[in-house]
Subunit: 364 residues, 2 copies
């Protein structure tokens, strides 16, 4: 199901065979939280060469709800996307609800952010929902340990997540769908190691590194990612959830991570922050008012091929929806092209050069 066929340092090329096709790794997965990658349509995503997208269990469970999903025979037909989909379990969103949620051994109680009604999500229900969605990859329900957390707190939380992981595995009914475990344990290496041991004993189709990008300093994120990669099995895909900047992605691939998702390209695009081969741009900046060059001279996206920074700035400050679409398209193009460049570099054994280049570009 997963095979790697080339390494350059710890960076690696692989192929993940899923129900709806083969996904090459490293991969970046655009986020389509409630069933669309905001502002875009499936034909855009195919033009972008997106191979797999993300859906969100928590959001889709609340709306449109599983009755509608069942009526359509799964998420793919509902949203008209025939390539693989990964769904997260809802754990992170429940964590984000703060005081609206309550965690017990049995599962998580929370109030819907839409209408306030009470919802109870157990590990078993999380699996059932994701199998109803028919997601090619689905995630176990976990508790995302907050940062900071004491060793004791992180341990209690991680251990419960591991019991939940076991229940999720036992609840799994569809053999054609992949299920990933999620490593927790806060910033504590002994706990991360215990978590990896527990998950690999259960044996999943892949492993996620969870509980990062929750407010910890960047060096802690890097150290924890590197530690997990070193101890996770080599023959399974490693997925760093919710990360990150272009440099985060390259650094993590250099540690052996295979899969990424993040709202950064889409959300930043809608907010006017663009990633380019020359660094970051805030399109609102007055200095672009007369700038007739494209966002990125090295980008082949529709936005860069057709429009100036001046025009994009004008649309953005005028709050035109077309701006959010064009800027989202550019940022996702940047991320997916970056992934292709990284694959090429690993193929050619020049990954370290690429890493050095990006360290210079993004730290400048």
């Amino acid at each position: 199901m997963f095979k790697t066929f080339k390494e350059d340092g710890k960076a690696r090329l692989g192929e993940l065979t899923l129900k709806r096709g083969v996904v090459k790794t490293p991969i970046f997965m655009p986020v389509g939280t409630v069933g669309s990658v905001k502002t875009l349509v499936p034909s855009d995503l195919k033009d972008l060469q997106a191979e797999i997208i993300l859906g969100n269990t928590y959001h889709l469970y609340l709306r449109p709800g599983m009755d509608i999903i069942k009526h359509f025979g799964g998420l793919h037909k509902f949203i008209n996307w025939d390539r693989p989909i990964l769904t997260d379990s809802g754990g992170f969103q429940i964590f984000s609800l703060g005081k609206l949620r309550k965690i017990k051994e049995e599962g998580a109680s929370f109030q819907s952010h839409i209408d306030g009604r009470k919802i109870f999500l157990s590990p078993e229900l999380a699996v059932e929902i994701q199998e109803t969605l028919d997601a090619d990859i689905h995630m176990v329900l976990d508790e995302c340990t907050p940062y900071p957390a004491t060793h004791g707190e992180a341990k209690v939380s991680m251990q419960r997540s591991m019991r939940w992981a076991k229940r999720c595995r036992e609840a799994k009914a569809k053999s054609d769908l992949a299920q990933f475990g999620i490593v927790q344990g806060g910033m504590y290496e002994d706990l991360r190691l215990d978590s990896i041991k527990a998950l690999t004993d259960i044996d999943f189709e892949g492993y996620s590194i969870g509980g990062l990008s929750v407010g910890e300093p960047k060096p802690s994120m890097r150290t924890t990612t590197e530690f997990c990669c070193e101890h996770l099995p080599k023959d399974k895909p490693r997925y760093l959830m919710g990360v990150g900047t272009p440099l985060d992605i390259i650094e993590s691939i250099g540690m052996g991570v295979d899969m990424f998702d993040c709202v950064m390209p889409t959300r930043n695009g809608r907010n006017g922050t663009l990633f380019t081969s020359e660094g970051k741009i805030n399109i609102k900046n007055q200095k672009y008012a007369f700038d007739d060059s494209p966002l990125d001279p090295n980008c082949s996206c529709y936005t860069c091929q057709n429009f100036s920074r001046s025009y994009l700035r004008h649309l953005f400050v005028s709050k035109e929806l077309t701006a959010q679409r064009l800027l989202t398209l550019h940022n996702l193009t940047y991320y997916l092209k970056l992934i292709h460049d990284i694959r090429d570099a690993i193929e050619q054994g020049t990954f370290q050069d690429l890493l050095r280049h990006h360290r210079g570009l993004w730290k400048a």
Copy 2:
């Protein structure tokens, strides 16, 4: 510059030759107020077979401003649209500002809706701005007479608009751009006739019927449109500004109108109201929650070819930007296909059948 080559009753087929190409009439012009048709991009508009789009003088003058437009050598290069553009003069927007504007013989003073700064727009400046935009068709500055207005008020207002029209014609410097006069006079036939006389004495490349869709009853709009069409020259295009529903458009074409613009398909699309071959749909309606049929079974747009009402409803109630894009695309497709159907009907001498069909459809 304008020739008609087929009539069916008073409905007629024509061709309007402009700086950037030939536009067939009857025509519907999508509205791109500040330089984009909201949520869409030029390649969408070409897929839709849009032949000409609208820009708004008032909005573009305030933002991005003429310095930027000059830097790009006109609106076309700025927004990357190589087909014809029509700009309105800003008269209607100034009218819409209500108490923020003051009309004098010299021109209109108003406060910017963006930053409150004072602006003075004279007929001469309106022409200068539109020639800077290099709009293939531009409109004279007029005062849109409010509804209701007494005969005396409508007369004073119309007569000033006619003096402004003359000043606009005298200020016209670019011979490769067309300029249209605007008929005013409220709901009073004698004033409309005086206005037509004044404008045709000046001699424009085309004539607009202005001051409608401002709150008057639908029968008044129809009567005034019909009256103006009867008295406007046959050898010049007739443009009914800011109108309207599909039925308004068909009825008006039946009276001899050639050109239309309206925010209705785009704005209604963003608000979830769709025009279809089976009538109007409000996509928010609960009854579409499980509806796996397309918005319109007779529509070939990307939205109808790819998505169900259920999915579109889900995206819309979830406030996903993709919904506004997909719904805008459908509504514009509906309007432009309607125009093509009308042209075919005139060609085949079956316009009355089409009119009858739509009267039944939209009045039901």
